[in-house]
Amino acid sequence: MEPQLMCCEGNRPAIRRAYRDSNLLTDRVLHALLRAEDKYLPASNYFKCVQREIAPYMRRIVATWMLEVCEEQKCEEEVFPLAMNYMDRFLSVEPTKKNHLQLLGAACMFLASKLKETIPLTAEKLCIYTDNSVRPTQLLQMELLVLNKLKWDLASVTPLDFIDHFLSQLPIRRENRPILRKHA
């Protein structure tokens, strides 16, 4: 397979980037990812079965806020979908008050950023984005609670993991791939 060279220019020049690993774009890996994905899927009915206070529109508000934070902080593209996966999985097992939902969202971004980024987000920065309605100590406590509820199983498979696999299967020119990927 031809090695592909993509996305080597960083926004933050201090960070050195690695290239995409074309060894990982085989059918063998795709099947393993598909198998593994099941383990990380949230329950689809948690608004009905688990949560009392939280409604779908609240999740949407928090998700929009999280996406804004991730974009403004120029987080890696994996951080947001990963954080949403943590939030949904947490909400699938733990009844949560609606005034804790933003705290939960912040803690999920905090963890996803640690897993994926060379220089992770700090607790202070996240607290500022909540308009200081959340204190760093609360964030750290919520972090532990999320880790515990998700049983430390954070290496989730997200839809983003499949994009490169699908793109490599499509009959498109290699130089067009980065553009197509952006719009996927």
Partner: protein, 344 residues
């Protein structure tokens, strides 16, 4: 806003820690300390890895790490270990404790590590008799490399790169089953990865050098495996920096001088004869074939873990007789005795 009470919910508290008696320190690193511990109820022996983590530190302390929370190394190691749970050649976690500022992982105790391959003798093949006269049997070299490849094939299939594969991080159980450990540097493959990984003598050539972005893939783990096989054959760290003439030759220079192909941009002016650097590897046709496929300078030519496992000849060589096993265990115990006597 009310703080969610998490104390009662966190995995285990200090009280359960008290069921374990802390023994001697068996490992130390930047991540924290590994103790040998004994369960007071069952008498079973475990290893306890204590991550230093400023969990719930006072809010008003001005320290920079005050609001890091759980260290990213801990998050990565534990999430990788959770993702790989159940594989016979990856270390398992029995339990998790929050002990004050530490996060402690309880793991099975593995009495040996692969550092036994640095015994100073290596493996000598006596061709006159058509039979190997050796200190470490060839079957052990094939055995550990196949089991490490097994773990790597599983990890790479899950998009996870180990990034610090060294003999110290390859643990061996009583019956010499390989358990790959220390995932502190492991991470899911991603677009942006730091190139400053892997202990130097086991670091692949594409990780060395200037500040330019590094083209690196899961093949870096395969390089480390290749170096470990070469180490085992020679009985020493083959790519350790060494004194030569008036100066020191670095790991990277040794690699370039011995393995860089002539038509490569980085080709050296004077190259070294690979027969001098790893004579025992070159003497054995089978090992030579395997090692040279792993230690390729260009990472896209390197053998991948699942490809190594398809090599029938190598997999068949991995069968260890009882005699072979006893020979290796004897070697390990001798080495541990020597190290213990050095300490006193």
């Amino acid at each position: 806003l009310q703080t969610p009470s998490c104390e009662k919910n966190t995995s285990r508290s200090l009280t359960q820690m008290e069921n374990y008696l802390k023994g001697s320190i068996i490992g130390r690193g930047t991540y924290g300390i590994v103790y040998k511990v004994t369960c007071l109820k069952t008498g079973k022996v475990f290893a306890l890895k204590c991550h230093r983590s400023p969990v719930l530190r006072d809010e008003d302390t001005e320290q920079k790490d005050a609001t890091i929370g759980v260290e990213d190394a801990t998050v990565r190691e534990l999430s990788c270990l959770s993702a790989l749970r159940g594989h016979p050649n990856v270390i398992q976690i029995h339990d998790l404790f929050i002990d004050g500022e530490n996060i402690a992982m309880l793991m099975p105790y593995a009495p040996y590590t692969l550092t036994v391959i640095h015994n100073g003798h290596g493996l000598k093949v006596n061709y006159d008799h058509g039979k190997a006269l050796q200190v470490i049997p060839l079957s052990f070299v094939a055995h550990f490399s196949v089991q490490v490849a097994n773990a790597l094939s599983y990890m790479h299939g899950r998009n996870i790169i180990h990034r610090d594969l060294t003999p110290r991080n390859v643990l061996l159980t009583k019956d010499l089953t390989v358990k790959v450990a220390d995932m502190g540097l492991a991470r899911q493959s991603s677009k942006r990865m730091s190139p400053n990984v892997v202990t130097e003598p086991y670091r692949a050539p594409e990780l060395f050098g200037d500040n330019s972005p590094k083209d690196y893939t899961c093949a870096i783990d395969m390089w480390s495996l290749g170096v470990m096989i070469a180490d085992a054959m020679e009985g020493k760290v083959v790519f350790a920096e060494r004194e030569k003439g008036s100066g020191t030759v670095s790991t990277y220079d040794i690699i370039v001088k011995t393995l860089c192909p002539r038509n490569h941009v980085k080709a050296p002016v004077t190259s070294w004869d690979i027969d001098d650097v790893m004579p025992n590897v070159m003497e054995c046709t089978l090992v030579k074939r395997i090692v040279l496929q792993l230690l390729t300078f260009r990472e896209n030519e390197r053998l991948l873990a699942h490809e190594l496992l398809q090599d029938q000849e190598w997999v068949q060589a991995a069968h260890m007789t009882e005699e072979d096993k006893n020979m290796v265990i004897h070697q390990i115990q001798q080495q541990q005795l020597r190290q213990a006597s050095k300490r006193f």
